[in-house]
Symmetry: C2
Subunit: 246 residues, 2 copies
Amino acid sequence: MITKNEIKLVKSLQIKKYRKEQQCFVVEGTKSVQELISSSFEIETIYASAKFLATHKTLLSSYTENLKIVDESILSTLGSYENNTNVLAVARMSTPQISQLTLDNVVLLLDDIRDPGNLGTIIRTADWFGINHIICSKETAEFYNPKVIQATMGSFARVKAYYEELVEVIKNHPQVPIYGAYLDGDNIKNINITKPAFLAIGNEANGISPEIGNHISQRISIQGFGKAESLNAGVAAGIMMFALCS
Amino acid sequence: MITKNEIKLVKSLQIKKYRKEQQCFVVEGTKSVQELISSSFEIETIYASAKFLATHKTLLSSYTENLKIVDESILSTLGSYENNTNVLAVARMSTPQISQLTLDNVVLLLDDIRDPGNLGTIIRTADWFGINHIICSKETAEFYNPKVIQATMGSFARVKAYYEELVEVIKNHPQVPIYGAYLDGDNIKNINITKPAFLAIGNEANGISPEIGNHISQRISIQGFGKAESLNAGVAAGIMMFALCS
């Protein structure tokens, strides 16, 4: 049974202010909730339809603590995806501490990725290529935004995002090379990177900011042959991870 | 001066049924309208704010035929992007004929790409890598959907999309090899393709359909090292184009 107050609370988590206040976020759909259950996130409540529970007994067998059966009609109003009549979870945010990060692979530096879909896609791609840590500028979209969580397709459960002043992080690791994409950089196909390394991904409209640009060790480039001015940020990041990390 | 009927007509073009009926589509924002003007598309009308006209004289100098000045408050309601108070154009659709397509490079085969954002991103990436022709299954998102046009960032003006039965197209070109991505394919980093070639891009949820799968000449794979189950369709397509066409 879900109370009116509880409905209000869950719905409020679509908004950043209330996520911050409650320190909770929403995870929607079978695949994402499955990843959440296997992760180290602390789950507050899982809301599922009776039909979903009947067909997904195994999925929820490892979670029985705070499970509520909710009408499909109510469930579909709780999150941002109207067609979700299956399952939705509320979990506690966790804030990974950069002091605990050991650099042993490629780490992404997101220099103001504003679009939640792009951030989610970058997290999903990072997970595919075995990159587990992403350092985000403070202006980057919020990790716990429902659109980000959705676009990660479950990878939010494995990839850690640290929101930091990028320049500070760079200065604290003077020995780590920083690769960044520019139109006039060296052809990425000819680059062999030394790990650990930072890979800087620029803002959708403006690319890498001058502040970060000053610290780039090697300017790299995805060679184009047509007339498009640029690539989508998620696609460019994906190609860079593929070229440098696989 | 824009009439009430005209406002209604332009707004109706957000919906596929009315686009089909009118054989017209909407292009929003400075960059996209600029590309439209330089393209071979026939423009019906350009609606611009007085402020925009004052600051973009050069852009519109090559188009003076049917230019209307519209209040910013009205302009922002005409399209799908609320923050567009600059310029919006209505243009006539054109339907490229596959009989006129000469295969001399890589041609994409989109096997039910349903998400307009993904289709737009794929068109933009294709344009970057010099791929000018895309053959779409009939279930693929519509080229003239405003979200597609927007996501192409102007590349809609250069890349041609043909909506066809993919199997028919494949059968008509028995000598052209077809590359398609599968989890168990050969590492794409070791592939040298022979051009012309078809590159098949599978549906977001289901990958390449069995019908198309039967015709694949070489199964290729983007090697992953993490735990993500898959890549975003736009990112996977981008990595394939990068690996095979650059």
